[in-house]
Symmetry: C2
Subunit: 141 residues, 2 copies
Amino acid sequence: MNIGEAAAHSRLPAKTIRYYEEIGLITPLRDLNGYRAFRSSDVHKLSFLGRARALGFSIEDCRTLLSLYEDQGRESAEVKMLARNQLTEVDRKIAALQAMRDTLAYLIDCCAGDHRPDCPILADLGAEAQPERSGATKRTV
Amino acid sequence: MNIGEAAAHSRLPAKTIRYYEEIGLITPLRDLNGYRAFRSSDVHKLSFLGRARALGFSIEDCRTLLSLYEDQGRESAEVKMLARNQLTEVDRKIAALQAMRDTLAYLIDCCAGDHRPDCPILADLGAEAQPERSGATKRTV
DNA sequence: GATAGGCCTTCCACTAACGGGAAGGTCAAG
DNA sequence: CTTGACCTTCCCGTTAGTGGAAGGCCTATC
């Protein structure tokens, strides 16, 4: 199977597949003409990688997950720990984004957004460092 | 004011400040010895940048915001539009992360996480492409 | 005066995870 | 034979900085 077909099956771009080979995540065979020859196990791994990446696992996490996947004697505890760490990380990111979101929404709500130059958004961004003023702006940042 | 002091006041690393100068976001003066000399307006801009970045605005957005901030005749509508786009972007990211989170939490919940090799997380990652099986796993990915 | 340390400078390399595009080889169809 | 769709490697670019080396400057101390 050539790279194009492998890409179609795994739903990964060919560029990504070449990259994954380069960093040693997969090692497809080679045809006599130099073309990569993907076995179904390779395509399977690629799909695995695509799913793990879609769950936000880093490449290095994926490398570990893949080796655990291949290791028939692994303990599920190790995988669960990885997943839990990933969940924590995702939660952290969500919380950070949520804080941004709230501040942004608040500022947008304050801004008239018309032809006048007065803008609470810029005013807030440019405000002096927070010397613990009471109730001026909702400064989450 | 030297870069160390500017860093302390703006709460940005010196490295970041040098980078911001390099890409033209600020242009501090120079002392005779070659040291950067930051005016209070420079430090003010740096704080502005720190806040805008903390809200998730890209460097290029920050460049625009800064120029709008300096432009006394700007229309607040333009700023509001930028902020709204940013809000949309943040919402998009939150939604994506939330989907990951749900799938991860589900998989973690399914996994015994003990010394046994059976692991639903790996099983799910490695499952065949979704041929619309009914009720097998909760595949969000 | 010498030296130590703590600043500051520039420059280069590196990060994550690819994407774009050039230059060129291969293959099947018409 | 040519065309067009594949494939190959190689190199550069992305975002927003971070790390480190080599070296200059400044102040204090011995």
